[in-house]
C-alpha cells in the first residue's frame, strides 16, 4: 500500500523500507513503523484469533491495550505489535490460530457461545468425575495465547538503572511536558517518561479543532524542543511506567532502539514528587461484533493516517461520543476516506466548529445515535447504527467502523501509587479523590481537554511538585492561569448500545460479553471485582486496559445501583513487562571468602551456604575418603572464613554477653577460649561458638556461619532496654580463618612461626596471638571440632591468601590436603560434635542436644535469654533428644533424613555415615526421649525402602577418641 506522504505529522520515513517475515513471505514496512502498522500497510487485517471463540481480531487501539494484535515476534510470545517498533528482519507469527488467520479450524467455537455462559466451566465437566481429567487436558490446550518452547532463550542485552530525580513526570504529552518544564524552571532535576518513541501525546498527530491557533502537532513539537533544550530534564522515550511503590518509587522499562547498546532496560526512579499526566484512552463502545477487524477506535484510525501515512479504510462509519471523534472524521475525510455518517451518542455539546466542518463536507451527523452491529464474517462490510434508545436503525455498507464511547482517563499510574478513585458524574470518569503525598495529576487525565487548559494544568502540577521539593512557588498564579481556560466537558455516559450483547465484547482478551456480565450479576456476583473473576473480564494479557472502566459502569447500570460505581483494581505492571527486563543484569550476589580462588585452584567444588560459597569437596569422591584420612593421619586445612567473628567492647560488654550466652561469661579468660551457646526465648539453640577476652572490657567471639548476619541485631535487641554501654563490631568479612587440623598440625605450624606452640605453651582451648613468618598477624585458637589436634588461625582477610599458601607449603612434606565441608561434617560427627541446623531443628533446645552443661543457672541476674524456657523444659518428658546411633550393618548406613519408627514416627536421622576411620556406620539422630537410652534398638524407615526397615541401636558418643586424647594432645 502506498503511504500518504508529505503530511507534517508523519513519524515514518517511507523512503527507507525494512523487511519482515510473516507467513512464509518477506514483506516490507518502512522506518518508523510498528510491527502492526507495517503488517496493516501490507494488507494484513486479521492479526490473530481470540482465546475462546477464535474470532478474527485486528487493529483496535494502536496502543496495545488488548491481545487482539499480540503476536509471536522472533520466538517471543505475546508481543504487542501495535507498540513494538519494526526492526529489519523480524519474524512474526500469529497466535492461537489453528489453520490460517482467515480460516481458523476452531472458528466453529464462536457458534458454541450459547453453551458457554459466564463461569460455565465451574458448572460442568465434573460430572461424572472421570471426564474431568480429560476435560482438563483439552482446557489446557485451548487456553493460553502465546507458545514458548522449553529450550527458548531470549537474546539481547538487559540492563538496569537506578535513578534519582526531584520530580518524575509520567507521560510526555502537552501536560506532562508543561509539568516537566515548570518544575525544571524552578531549578529541579526532572525525569520525563514517555511510552511512545516521541513526545507529544495525542497532539502529535492532530491539527486541532480551531484553525486560528497554532496546530496542535506544531505546538507539541515546540514544547518538545523546549524540553530538549532544558538540561535539567532527562527524557526517556519508549519507556512506559510499569509500577509505583512506597515513597514515590517509580519503575519503568525502556526499550532500546536499534542503535542503542541494550535491548531493554529496567529503571527504578526515586523521586521526591511524581506528576502523572498519562492522558486518556478511548472508552470502548459495546455493540454486537465490536471486535470485528475493521472496527477500530478513533485514535487508531486517525494515527494510522496521520502518523504512519496509511488510510485505515475506504468507506467509513463513525460512532463516537467525544469531539476527538468528530475531529478525526473531518480530518480523515480530508485525507481521502469516504465518511458516510458520524453517529454521536451525545445529543448535544459538540464543538460548533467541528459540526460546521462536517456539514461543509456533507457528512451527516446523527446526534443521539450509536453503532449497534458490525456485519461481515472476517472484516467489516456493513454497519448498523441506531438511536441510543434503539428505536430507529440505519445500515451502511462500509469497510471501516470507527467507534468509541468516549474517553477514559489512564488512572493506572495513580492507583498503583495509592490514589483512591471516585466516579465523577460530570465527566463520567473515575477521577482521583485522594492523592498520596507527593503525587500529582494533570492534563486530559483530569478532563482538561481544552489545549490551553491541558498545558496550564501541567504547569500547575509542575509547580506543585516543585513545592513538594521545597521550592517557593507561586501556585496561586498557576491555579489562576488554569482557571482562565474552559473546564472539563461533560462526558458521554453511554457504555453500551441498545443490544442483547451476545457478541458485544466487554473484554476482548477473554471473550467476555455484555451478556456474560449480566449472567454473572444474575448469579449473585454483585461486586465488580467478583464479576471480573467469575465472568473473566480483564484478566487476560491486556488486563483491565479495555474493560477496566466499562465493567463497573455496565454493572452499575444493569443493577440500577444507587451507589456510585467503583472501578476494579489496577495492578502493576501497568504494561506487561518481560521477565528478562525485570531480571536486568541478573547479578549473583553471593559472598566469596578471601581464599575462594585458591580453593578453586585446588579443585574445590563449591556449594551455596547461606550468603556464602563454600568448598564442599576437593575430589569427585563425595565420601571424601582421602580428605578424611589426611586429617586423621596427617594434616589437613579447611577454609573456615565464613564463621561469624565479632568484637564486643565497652564497660557493659560482659553484661551483654551474659545476657545472650547461656554460660557464665565471667569465666572467659584472656588465654583460653570458652565454648558456649545462645538460645532464643524458647530455649532453642540458635548459635554456638567461642569467646575470648582480648583486653579490658574487650572480647572476641565467633558464631556459626548462618548467624553471622543476625548476631549484632540479636544482641542489640535483647539489651534494648538496658542502656548498656558497649560497642559491637562485625569482623566476619574483615578476618579469615584457616583450620589446620591433624596429628601433624603442630609440626606444620612450628615450621612457620617462632611462637611456642607446644602442648605446654599452647594447650587445648588456648588462645594466642603471634606472627607467621614474622609478618602475618594471627589469632590462634586450639580447638578440636574435627576431633584432632587443631589450630584455628584467624588473620586479616588481606593476609589470608599469603597465610594459606604458607601453610600449604609448610604442610607439603606431611602430605597436607585441603578438606571441605563434607569431610569436616563426617570428622566432627565421629567426634559427636553438632552442627546447628543439622543436629538441631527449630524446636531443639539446649538440653535436647545434651549441651545442658553449658547452662549456668546461677546467673539469674543476667536474665539469660531462654533460661526461663529451659527451666520449664527440664521436666518435660516428651522431647526429642540427640543420641548417637550405630547401624547393625556397618556397610549399610541409613541416609540422612530417614525417619525412626515403630508404629509411628519417633525421630529421624540427622547425620549418619559409614566411617572410614572406625569401620562402623555411625551417626546422630533426634529421637523421642524414651528411645534415647544406650542399647535401645531402633528401626529406620528410609524413603522408597519398600517396607524394609534398617536396624540400628543407640550407642554412646563420641564414637571417635572418646577421651579426647588426640584433640587435647
Amino acid at each position: 500500500m502506498s503511504r500518504l506522504e508529505h503530511l507534517p505529522t508523519l513519524r515514518i520515513d517511507p523512503s527507507l523500507t525494512l523487511p519482515l517475515h510473516y507467513r512464509g513471505k518477506t514483506r516490507y514496512g518502512v522506518s518508523g513503523d510498528t510491527v502492526a502498522t507495517a503488517l496493516f500497510a501490507d494488507g494484513v487485517r486479521i492479526f490473530g484469533r481470540s482465546l475462546k471463540y477464535h474470532r478474527p481480531r485486528g487493529l483496535y487501539s494502536l496502543d496495545g491495550e488488548c491481545a487482539n494484535t499480540t503476536m509471536a515476534v522472533d520466538g517471543v510470545p505475546n508481543v504487542r505489535t501495535e507498540t513494538t517498533p519494526l526492526v529489519s528482519g523480524m519474524r512474526v507469527a500469529v497466535q492461537n490460530v489453528m489453520g490460517f488467520p482467515e480460516f481458523d479450524v476452531m472458528g466453529f467455537m464462536d457458534r458454541l457461545s450459547p453453551f458457554m455462559p459466564a463461569g460455565f466451566y465451574y458448572r460442568i465437566l465434573h460430572k461424572p468425575a472421570m471426564i474431568w481429567p480429560l476435560a482438563l487436558k483439552s482446557i489446557r490446550k485451548a487456553a493460553g495465547l502465546g507458545k514458548i518452547s522449553p529450550d527458548f532463550r531470549t537474546i539481547g542485552t538487559f540492563e538496569e538503572r537506578y535513578l534519582h530525580a526531584d520530580v518524575c513526570v509520567v507521560g510526555g504529552g502537552a501536560a506532562g511536558m508543561s509539568a516537566a518544564l515548570a518544575a525544571a524552571e524552578s531549578g529541579l532535576r526532572v525525569i520525563l517518561l514517555e511510552a511512545r518513541p516521541w513526545l507529544g501525546g495525542c497532539w502529535d498527530y492532530r491539527s486541532g479543532a480551531d484553525s486560528d491557533a497554532l496546530p496542535l502537532y506544531e505546538r507539541s513539537r515546540e514544547l518538545a524542543r523546549e524540553v530538549a533544550d532544558e538540561p535539567r530534564i532527562r527524557v526517556f522515550c519508549r519507556t512506559p511506567m510499569i509500577g509505583a511503590y512506597n515513597d514515590n518509587l517509580v519503575t519503568a522499562v525502556q526499550s532500546g532502539g536499534e542503535d542503542e547498546g541494550f535491548t531493554e532496560r529496567y529503571i527504578e526512579i526515586r523521586a521526591q514528587s511524581v506528576v502523572v499526566a498519562t492522558g486518556c484512552i478511548e472508552r470502548p463502545l459495546l455493540f454486537e461484533n465490536n471486535d470485528r477487524p475493521g472496527v477500530m477506535q478513533v485514535g487508531c484510525a486517525h494515527r494510522l493516517a496521520r502518523t504512519y501515512g496509511i488510510l485505515p479504510g475506504k468507506t467509513a462509519v463513525f460512532s463516537v461520543g467525544h469531539d476527538m471523534g468528530l475531529e478525526a472524521a473531518v480530518d480523515l475525510s480530508e485525507l481521502g476516506v469516504e465518511v458516510l455518517c458520524v453517529a454521536d451518542a451525545r445529543e448535544d455539546g459538540q464543538h460548533p466548529g467541528l459540526v460546521r466542518a462536517l456539514t461543509e463536507r456533507g457528512i451527516p451527523l446523527l446526534r443521539g445515535w450509536v453503532a449497534a452491529r458490525a456485519f461481515g464474517k472476517r472484516h467489516v462490510k456493513k454497519a448498523a447504527v441506531t438511536t441510543v434508545e434503539g428505536t430507529v436503525r440505519r445500515e451502511f455498507a462500509c469497510d471501516l467502523l470507527v467507534a468509541s464511547a468516549g474517553l477514559s482517563p489512564v488512572t493506572g499510574p495513580l492507583t498503583v501509587a495509592g490514589a483512591r478513585l471516585a466516579y465523577d458524574v460530570h465527566t463520567g470518569y473515575f477521577l482521583p479523590e485522594a492523592l498520596p503525598c507527593g503525587v500529582h495529576a494533570a492534563g486530559r487525565l483530569l478532563g482538561w481537554n481544552d489545549p490551553g487548559a491541558a498545558e496550564a494544568s501541567g504547569r500547575l502540577a509542575g509547580v506543585r511538585a516543585a513545592a513538594d521539593c521545597g521550592k517557593t512557588v507561586d501556585s496561586d498564579a498557576a491555579e489562576a492561569a488554569l482557571a482562565a481556560h474552559p473546564g472539563p466537558e461533560s462526558g458521554c455516559k453511554l457504555v453500551t448500545a441498545p443490544v442483547a450483547g451476545k457478541k458485544a465484547f466487554v473484554c476482548f482478551d477473554e471473550d467476555a460479553t455484555v451478556k456474560n456480565v449480566r449472567q454473572a450479576i444474575d448469579m449473585g456476583f454483585d461486586v465488580p471485582e467478583l464479576i471480573k473473576r467469575f465472568a473473566a473480564v480483564g484478566l487476560g494479557p491486556g488486563q483491565g486496559g479495555i474493560p477496566g472502566h466499562n465493567l463497573p459502569l455496565l454493572a452499575a447500570r444493569y443493577r440500577a445501583d444507587t451507589a456510585p460505581p467503583r472501578p476494579t483494581t489496577v495492578r502493576s505492571p501497568l504494561v506487561p513487562a518481560l521477565i528478562a527486563a525485570y531480571a536486568g543484569a541478573q547479578r549473583d550476589m553471593c559472598k566469596r571468602t578471601p581464599l575462594h580462588r585458591l580453593q578453586e585452584r585446588d579443585g574445590g567444588v563449591f556449594r551455596r551456604t547461606g550468603v556464602w560459597k563454600r568448598a564442599r569437596y576437593f575430589s569427585d569422591d563425595t565420601e571424601c575418603r582421602e580428605e578424611i584420612l589426611a586429617v586423621r593421619n596427617g594434616v589437613g586445612m579447611l577454609d573456615a572464613s565464613t564463621l561469624g567473628k565479632f568484637r564486643i567492647h565497652g564497660p557493659d560488654a560482659l553484661n551483654a554477653l551474659q545476657r545472650v550466652y547461656v554460660s557464665d561469661m565471667r569465666k572467659v579468660g584472656s588465654d583460653r577460649v570458652k565454648y558456649s551457646a545462645m538460645c532464643n526465648d524458647d530455649g532453642c539453640v540458635i548459635d554456638d561458638g567461642v569467646a575470648v577476652k582480648i583486653g579490658e572490657n574487650d572480647y572476641y567471639f565467633t558464631t556459626s556461619t548462618g548467624r553471622a548476619g543476625a548476631t549484632v541485631e540479636w544482641i542489640r535487641y535483647h539489651t534494648r532496654f538496658d542502656e548498656w554501654d558497649f560497642h559491637l563490631v562485625n569482623l566476619t568479612d574483615a578476618l579469615g580463618v584457616i583450620n589446620l587440623a591433624g596429628p601433624d598440625a603442630r609440626t606444620v605450624l612450628e615450621s612457620i612461626t617462632d611462637a611456642d606452640v607446644s602442648n605446654e605453651a599452647f594447650p587445648f582451648a588456648g588462645y594466642r596471638t603471634f606472627r607467621v613468618d614474622g609478618w602475618i598477624p594471627v589469632r590462634a585458637m586450639r580447638l578440636g571440632f574435627v576431633g584432632e589436634l587443631s589450630f584455628e588461625l584467624h588473620a586479616p582477610s588481606s593476609f589470608m591468601p599469603a597465610l594459606w599458601d604458607r601453610v600449604a607449603e609448610a604442610g607439603k612434606p606431611h602430605g597436607i590436603r585441603n578438606f571441605g565441608m563434607e569431610a569436616q561434617n563426617v570428622l566432627r560427627m565421629e567426634k559427636g560434635h553438632v552442627i546447628l541446623g543439622q543436629e538441631s531443628e527449630q524446636r531443639t533446645n539446649l538440653l535436647d542436644l545434651g549441651l545442658g552443661f553449658l547452662w549456668d543457672r546461677s546467673k539469674t541476674d543476667a536474665a539469660t535469654v531462654g533460661a526461663v524456657a529451659l527451666e520449664q523444659a527440664e521436666d518435660d518428658p516428651d522431647r526429642l533428644t540427640l543420641v548417637g546411633i550405630e547401624m547393625d550393618d556397618p556397610d549399610r548406613p541409613a541416609k540422612d533424613g530417614s525417619v525412626i519408627v515403630d508404629d509411628r514416627i519417633r525421630g529421624y536421622v540427622c547425620t549418619l555415615r559409614r566411617s572410614v576411620t572406625l569401620n562402623r556406620a555411625v551417626g546422630m539422630a533426634l529421637v523421642e526421649a524414651p528411645l534415647s537410652a544406650p542399647g535401645t534398638h531402633l528401626e529406620i524407615f528410609e524413603d522408597d525402602c519398600n517396607g524394609q526397615r534398617l536396624k540400628a541401636k543407640v550407642v554412646p558418643m563420641p564414637f571417635y577418641d572418646p577421651e579426647g586424647k588426640r584433640m587435647k594432645g
Binding site: 460442568i124 490446550k141 495492578r571 505492571p573 535487641y717 524413603d943
Partner: protein
Amino acid sequence: MFFRTRRLWKKPDRLRSRYDAVIIGGGLHGLATAYYLAREHGMRDVAVIEKNYIGFGGAGRNTAIVRANQRTSENLPLYKEALDLWPVLTRELNFNLMFNNCGNLNLVHSEAAMKASRLNVATAQFHGVESHLLDAAQVKEMEPALNIAEDIAFPIHGAMYHPPGGVVRHDAVVWGLAKGASAHGVHIHQQTEATGISVENGAVAGVETRAGNIRTGRVLISAGGYSADIIHRMLGLTLPISVLTIQAMVTQPLKPLLNHVVSSGAYHVYANQTLKGEIATGAHMDPWPNYTTRNSAHYIKHQAEALGEMLPCLRGVRFMRHWAGLADMTPDMAPIMDGNDPVRGAYINCGWGYFGFKSCAVVGKHMAAFMAGGECPEILRPFHLRRYEQHRLMGETAAVVNYSPDN
C-alpha cells in the same frame, strides 16, 4: 437455554438477632466451617459475617497450590485428608473446583537440602502419601523447561516429587462453599463488619456487628491475616502471630509449558501454570510485618531473576499482574486452632501463614465438629494455643524463624 442463570447463593435475609453459631470471616476457612456446621451437624442458623465480600482476603490472593508433603506427623495427616477432600467436595457441592492433580516438584539444590527433603519424603511415605526423591536428570525429564546446568546460583541437585498434589481453582472453592453453605441454610452477610464479642460469665453471649447485635453461644474467628488483630480486640488474647505481606504474580497466558508445580526454597520461588495458561509465581514474604497488601519493586524483580535462572525460557515471557496478600505467621509455621479456652464458646482458627488454602476444607470439617460438640477432634489437638507458653513448638520447619520486626 442450556444453563439456568440462578443465584449461586441466596441473597441473605436481614441479620437475625439470634444464631446458633456466628463465623467472623467470609473466607475459605469460615465458609467451609459454616458449610460443615450446617451440612454435617444439622445446625440451621449459622451466620457468616464478612466485612468485605467473600473471598476478599487470602482466599482470592493465594496461588492455589495443594499438597500433603509436610514435615511433621501432626501436620501431614491433616493435609492428607485435605487432599482427599477435593474430589468429594466437587461432588457434594456440584461445583467444579478444577483440581488439577499435576503433582509438585520441590527442587533441591544441595546435599544438605536433600537431607531435609528426605525427612519429608520418608514421613509422607510412612503415612501412605506418595512422595519420592529424584535426581537432576529425572527432574529434567519431567519438566524440560528446568535448567539443570551447574553455572547458576543454585544448581538443581534433585527434587522432592509429590504426585498427589497440584492446583485447585481457589475462586471456585470460595463460590462452591458459599453455594453449598447457602443451600444448607447458612446466611452469608457480606459488607457486614463484626465489631465485638460480648462475654458473660466466661462464655460467649453474642456478637456485635455494624448491622446489629446477634445473640449466640458460639463464635469462630477465622479471618485470615486479620484474625490476630480481631482476636486481640474482641477476646483480649495476644497471639504470637506476625502478619507479613506475601506477594505473587502471573505472566501472560501461554500454551502448556509447565507440567507440575515447581518450587525452590533456595531461589525462594514457585511456579505453576494455571488452567488459563498463566505462570503463577511467588514464594517468600516481605521481611517486615505490615497489613498493607502493597507490592514492592524488589519482589517482582527477585522473582524475575530467580525464574530466569531456574526456568530460563520464561525470560521471554511477560508478567502481567502482581498482587499481595497477608500471611499470619506463627513462630513454628503451624496454625493455631483452639476453642473454649479461656472463653467458652469462642473458637479461633488462624496462624495459617501461607498454608490456609490447602487446608481450608478439612479444617472447616473438623472445626465444625469442634464447635458442634464442644470437644476438640483428635486431629486438631496438637494445634492448641498453649503450646507456645509451654515452649513446645511444632517443628514444621527445621530452620529457626523469627518474624518479629526487631530481629
